[in-house]
């Protein structure tokens, strides 16, 4: 056997209260796409940050091509040939593509030369990119291309990719995989982090599974079933949500030509959306991030006001109403961003309960807060949705992502909505909490409420939705029954591969 490209030995990193990595050891061979598998919180991010020089391990060592490798900072890692594409892109919205790329390089050449090399590399790998465009105006897929091209320009020996497909359409995923295979053929190794098992089976040559900071197994994903890998990852068999047959109810929400301007410079305008939602159904809305999801939720919750007859709820025009007036009618929402939007991080859970439940739960009397009642309501949510916290007096920040999300979704469901709108309900949530949240949404629909679930996770949408629609550049496709939709059909509804054809003409 040849020397591995990167050898990890006994890496350990602890944070107060959490051991993020415990004695992690494995090898990555040259020319290999190596999967790093694990749930949220399994320690994947800490591990790759260690390799990239952003985190210093408490113990253990690394070897790169047989030599000791201890990067003090990302610059050193980049010099040694390690490049990384981040999950939350490390891009600068107000700058152009070439400037963004220059920032990720050591000793970059002048801008003009970068532009030329960007064009060269993007042709070579089939990743069209205009070096002079402002990054903030690019789609998520294009933004990722910026990150990838930035890495490729440095001829990396090892490319780390953190959840690269979560923001891509199926067609874009196919293009990405093609790029990665070409890179492998050129001799580079790729450390590929994901929890999407079918992707890993299609792409990777080896896999290491992390759970609670430890390596719990490794396998050859080409020959291991997704189910086996899932059980390694979670450590037990998963609860699969139960979907009961539901009768079709009356219409609760109608959108008629809903349009709204983009709320900020890098936002998306909503364009002429028509939609009907019935009681008892779950409508899944898919789409790549940044195609109008936030704006649609805001237009439904009342954070964005529109012409009054653009939104009809239970037969009444409500497009002009403020959030609390809509809540009183039974239209509730849970936005995507938990910290700072759905919940205030530094406030207690009691105060966060008051945040949306003041009107429907009668938590104020002539403007004065009934704190006792608010505490009681928060405690009920905590109990009913199994939120792990010492009590309602703790801050939202102190909760893990999954627990806070259970609290946020539970807070709305406990208010007995007629229509609940949720955006990315299980994003960054561990598998058991995600399953609980999906089950809660199904139960809510079974009781006769309507649910609009916006998500980028297509598996999730297929699992719980009755009908499926896609958001693309602020437009909503006509909903279709979820049963029997193929991946290709969904991909086309999502807009195929963004801008790819157009860009090819340019090149």
């Amino acid at each position: 056997m040849t020397t591995p490209l990167l050898r990890l030995r006994g890496l350990t990193k602890a944070y107060p209260g959490v051991v993020a990595n415990q004695d992690v050891s494995f090898d990555i061979q040259p020319g290999e796409i190596h999967a790093l598998l694990g749930e949220n919180g399994a320690g994947k991010s800490t591990l790759v940050k260690t390799i990239y020089g952003l985190v210093k391990p408490d113990a253990g060592q690394m070897e790169l091509q047989g030599a000791v490798f201890a990067p003090a900072e990302p610059r050193a890692a980049r010099m040694a040939g390690v490049a990384m594409v981040f999950q939350h892109f490390s891009l600068f919205d107000a700058m152009n593509v070439a400037e963004n790329i220059a920032l990720g390089m050591e000793n970059p050449p002048p801008q003009r030369e970068i532009a030329a090399r960007v064009r060269l590399v993007s042709d070579q790998y089939g990743l069209p990119l205009d070096p002079l465009r402002i990054v903030g105006e690019l789609s998520a897929g294009e933004r990722q291309r910026v990150e990838i091209v930035r890495c490729l320009l440095q001829d990396p020996k090892l490319l780390i990719m953190d959840e690269p497909t979560s923001v891509l359409t199926p067609q874009e995923v196919a293009i990405l995989f093609e790029t990665l295979r070409r890179l492998r053929a050129a001799g580079a190794a790729i450390l590929y982090i994901s929890h999407k098992l079918e992707e890993i089976r299609a792409l990777c040559d080896a896999a290491t599974v992390l759970r609670l900071g430890r390596v719990v197994g490794s396998c050859d994903p080409r020959t291991t079933s997704a189910r086996e890998m899932a059980e390694l990852m979670v450590g037990s068999s998963l609860h699969v949500p139960h979907k009961a047959a539901r009768p079709e109810g009356e219409v609760i929400l109608t959108l008629q030509g809903l349009s709204a301007k983009a709320p900020h410079r890098f936002g998306t305008a909503l364009r002429d959306i028509d939609l009907t939602v019935r009681r008892g159904e779950i409508l899944g809305i898919g789409g790549v991030a940044g195609n109008g999801q936030d704006e649609l939720v805001a237009a439904l919750s009342g954070e964005i006001r529109t012409r009054r007859d653009m939104v009809l709820f239970d037969g009444k025009s409500i497009g002009h109403l403020a959030p609390n007036a809509r809540r009183r009618l039974g239209l509730l929402a849970a936005p995507e961003e938990r910290m700072g939007h759905a919940a205030a991080p530094d406030m207690s859970l009691t105060e966060n309960a008051l945040l949306t439940a003041a009107a429907r739960q009668d938590l104020t009397a002539r403007g004065f807060v009934r704190w006792g009642k608010a505490r009681e309501f928060a405690a009920n949510v905590i109990a009913a949705f199994d939120v792990r916290t010492p009590g309602a007096g703790n801050t939202a920040r102190s909760l893990s992502g999954g627990n806070l999300q259970k609290f946020v979704i539970g807070r709305e469901i406990m208010q007995d909505p007629a229509l609940l709108v949720v955006n990315q309900p299980t994003w960054g949530v561990d598998a058991s909490a995600a399953a609980a949240i999906r089950q809660a949404l199904l139960d809510l629909a079974a009781k006769g409420a309507a649910v609009i679930c916006i998500s980028q996770d297509l598996d999730e949408l297929m699992e719980i939705s009755d009908r499926f629609a896609a958001l693309n550049a602020g437009r909503l496709s006509a909903p279709r029954p979820a049963q029997g939709l193929s991946v290709e059909q969904i991909g086309l509804m999502l807009g195929g591969a963004h801008d790819m054809e157009v860009a090819h003409v340019d090149a």
């Binding site: 993020a20 490390s90 600068f92 107000a94 220059a102 410079r265």
Partner: protein
């Protein structure tokens, strides 16, 4: 009233002089804000610079050393702000205000023995040949060196931000400090340097007030110039050359107002002296500000 007493050439020339202190302070603050830091303490740094510059000039007898002292004084005071906001993560708005309040008191304390002394006259440096051009010559090319220095700093900052690697990094830090950190740039180090540059520039601006414009030391002599500099940064949408325009606009209003006072305009002095401040408000309202740097005024703390 005698408007004919106002000489347009002298008016425009003195406009450039009136704009210089604000221009100096504003270009420093522009760099600070492009690095993602909002330092509201410009007024405090300016007046500290004013008193430091004055004291050094009087004692050392050299205005050159005086300006250097002013820059150092302003930078040191700015460093206090930098340590508080960048290392101890205090609120930038509150800390900036504290800096102004402290600076006003501190300068008054330092300047006690210097009230009433006159500063030495700083000679003009007419640019050879160019200053002999009629009209344009006396307006543009017959000034003291600091006026030219101010314009040179603007050009330098513009080139730095646009063409240099360090300027690119500084903008990156101001635009998205988390991403800059993830790429391995030293957010806090970059910001501390920017803050000190801002302090030095504010100090120079202050010294220009106490050594050239007034030219003597009195308590509170900045009279809001630091705040106007802050307003001009917003007006300029964080772009250096527009900043020059803003400073000259403001300088124009100030000089015109003074000239009208001198010409015995019928409007009472108190109302005329409001003009620069009202003009600043008007400009703030009329100019839709461009997009501020993405991380402006946010504390940076590298977690995990």
């Amino acid at each position: 009233m005698d408007l004919s007493a106002i000489n347009p050439i002298l008016l425009l020339a003195s406009l450039m002089v009136a704009a210089t202190p604000i221009l100096l302070a504003a270009i420093g603050e522009l760099v600070v804000e492009r690095a993602g830091v909002l330092n509201l303490g410009v007024e405090g740094m300016m007046i500290t610079g004013a008193v430091c510059g004055f004291i050094v000039t009087i004692n050392a007898g050299s205005p050159l050393l005086g300006f250097a002292g002013a820059a150092i004084g302003g930078a040191l005071l700015a460093l206090v702000f930098g340590v508080l906001t960048q290392v101890l993560l205090s609120n930038q708005v509150a800390t900036g205000l504290a800096l102004t309040l402290f600076g006003l008191g501190f300068a008054a304390l330092l300047g006690q023995g210097y009230i009433g002394i006159k500063a030495p006259v700083i000679p003009k440096w007419p640019v050879p040949v160019l200053s002999d051009i009629p009209v344009i010559g006396p307006i543009l090319f017959n000034h003291d060196p600091v006026v030219y220095l101010g314009i040179a700093i603007i050009a330098g900052v513009w080139a730095f931000l646009r063409y240099s690697r360090a300027g690119l990094i500084l903008r990156a830090v101001g635009e998205n400090h988390d991403a800059a950190h993830a790429l391995g740039y030293h957010v806090i180090r970059v910001r501390l340097l920017a803050i000190m540059f801002g302090g030095a520039c504010a100090g120079l601006g202050g010294a220009y007030l106490s050594l050239v414009r007034v030219p003597q030391w009195t308590e509170g002599l900045t009279a809001g110039a630091g705040w106007i500099a802050l307003a001009i940064v917003v007006f300029a949408s964080w772009r250096p050359w527009r900043l020059l325009l803003g400073a000259y606009l403001f300088g124009g209003v100030t000089v015109l107002q003074l000239n009208l006072q001198a010409a015995g305009m019928a409007i009472p002095v108190a109302y005329l002296s409001m003009a620069p401040y009202l003009a600043t408000i008007l400009v703030l309202v009329m100019m839709r500000a461009g997009r501020a740097p993405g991380s402006l005024a946010q504390s940076f703390h590298a977690s995990r």
